[in-house]
Amino acid sequence: MIELIRQVEDLFNQHLTPGYTFDTRINKWNVATAWVRLSSSEQLLPAATSIKQVGGRLHTISAYQRVEGKPSEIHEIAYHFDLDGATLTITVLLADGQRDIPSLTPVFHNADWNEREFMELYDINAVGHPNPTRLFIDENIDAAVLQKFIPFSDMVNAASTKSLWEKIMQQRGEKQ
């Protein structure tokens, strides 16, 4: 398990421009996880190609807004790969206003849905995606809609509420 991580680290040393970090953890079950932080999104494709070269598989992709006090317009994307049981996570920071990231779908077939999902939920563009259509959200709805139009959720902080029920009871003149 750890051997594959070492192979990937060697390939990164050969093919990636310096500036990234590479940390490895091993838990009590002897399961290794590696955590890589890239300094630029241009390193992403060479990194993914190196992982493919050693037989890695894409697990999934997690895009998110950086939260420092409150959600910002700065996004990060974490790419999770399987290396025969070990997990390698590559995190890429998208600077303020940066919306483009290279698509991994030409390298890993199963990046397709993951990238379409973050395109519609975060309005980040996977450049080079072969089929950049909507996945879950209808075409008529703007991308990153949860970040823009959440008045009700903002108001109730996504909690359940009795307000509507109480208003109806009040209008009907019924006891609350």
Binding site: Y64, H109, W113, L135
Partner: protein
């Protein structure tokens, strides 16, 4: 021959949940498939960021019903990794028992539905009757037939005593011969074999290229089971094999699930035989520091992965999960190519899809 398109779904008698397929047909032969998702997208990943860790144990259990226990188990594992929390040995055993009970029920449900789709109603009833024993076990041990409420951070919230262990063994002794008989029928009955062998074939190379997982991949000869590849809980101390089949058709996928039911029953028995004494969880409500972790388990449908990012507060900064059904949808266009319209529901069911899980 004229080519035309045919819609299937989003509401369809053979699909338990809504999914919309557009088939490209040449006569009755399928030449292409387009999948349109999103009918039960609930924004749950947004919602979990508005709840604290303890509330999210309850919420994640409600992502899906059939693999409900795998979600809080994996979520708790991610929290425990960040918090450096060591689950007591008995807690690990009880987690595995809960997960394997759910696997028996989930896999039996899927192969039962397969019998229903091909019109073998008496077999469908027989399988579901056997599964009903598992439902009884869940209700008796956990108080619920679907959501077990078994997990907490640092262990589990339930315990087994001599009486409940004796009950569980008694019911397992009823299930085991029934599963053997079901296994034999699925292996040999001509109604099953003629309708499912050679249908919806997924070649091994495509399973690997598409990154498919779980029984779907294992039925195409991909030997990958998280319990063996990424050991967790007490799986390294248990004796089990990874079930694979070489042919990649609808039948092979059903057989892998039945094979895994037998393995799961055996794993529960091993756990009960080795169950150590001691606490079932760490005491108190642990505080989770800032950090990030990935946790993986083998849910009934395959590899379930959770990514958790915390910032020192009691709410996740990001909680993302990728369910086994998510990548497996990709296999359908390959499986359906050159099959007939009559097999659409059968092939869809053979990937044991969970749409609530996929769309969240």
């Amino acid at each position: 021959m004229t080519r035309y398109q045919m819609p299937v779904g989003p509401l369809h008698v053979a699909l338990e949940e809504p999914m919309y397929f557009k088939l490209d047909l040449e006569g009755e032969t399928i030449k292409g498939l387009h999948i349109s998702a999103g009918h039960v997208h609930r924004g749950m990943e947004y919602l979990v960021m508005k709840r604290n860790f303890y509330q999210n144990i309850t919420l994640t259990e409600r992502i899906c019903s059939l693999c409900s226990n795998s979600h809080p188990t994996t979520f708790c594992m991610a929290l425990e990794e960040i918090g450096g929390i060591a689950v007591p040995p008995r807690g690990h055993y009880l987690r595995v028992i809960a997960d394997e009970i759910k696997r028996v029920a989930s896999n039996l449900f899927n192969v039962g539905i397969m019998a229903h789709i091909i019109g073998f109603t008496s077999l469908f009833m027989h399988v579901l009757e056997t599964r009903e024993i598992v439902q009884d076990i869940k209700e008796t041990l956990y108080g619920n037939r679907m959501d077990l409420g078994a997990n907490c951070i640092g262990g589990v919230k339930y315990n087994l005593n001599a009486e409940s262990i004796a009950y569980l063994i008694k019911r397992l002794n009823e299930i085991a011969p029934a599963v053997e008989e079901i296994h034999r029928i699925y292996s040999t009955h001509s109604s099953i074999l003629t309708r499912t062998r050679g249908v919806g074939v997924l070649p091994n190379a495509i399973a690997l290229e598409y990154g498919l997982i779980g029984p779907v991949a294992r039925a195409s000869g991909v030997e990958y089971d998280v319990r063996a590849k990424t050991p967790y809980a007490i799986y390294p101390e248990l004796d089990f094999a990874t079930m694979t089949r070489p042919d990649g058709d609808v039948w092979s996928r059903a057989m892998v699930r039945l094979d895994e039911v037998k393995v799961a029953i055996d794993l529960i028995r091993q756990c009960l035989a080795q169950l150590p004494e001691g606490p079932v969880a760490v005491p108190g409500l642990p505080t989770i520091p800032a950090g990030e972790a990935v946790a993986k388990t083998e849910a009934p449908r395959g590899e379930l992965i959770y990514y958790l990012r915390t910032n020192g507060s009691d709410m996740p900064e990001r909680l993302k999960w990728r369910v086994p059904s998510y990548p497996n949808w990709d296999a359908l266009p390959v499986m359906m190519q050159d099959n007939t319209v009559a097999d659409v529901a059968l092939i869809v069911n053979s990937i044991d899809p969970c749409i609530s899980c996929t769309e969240r």
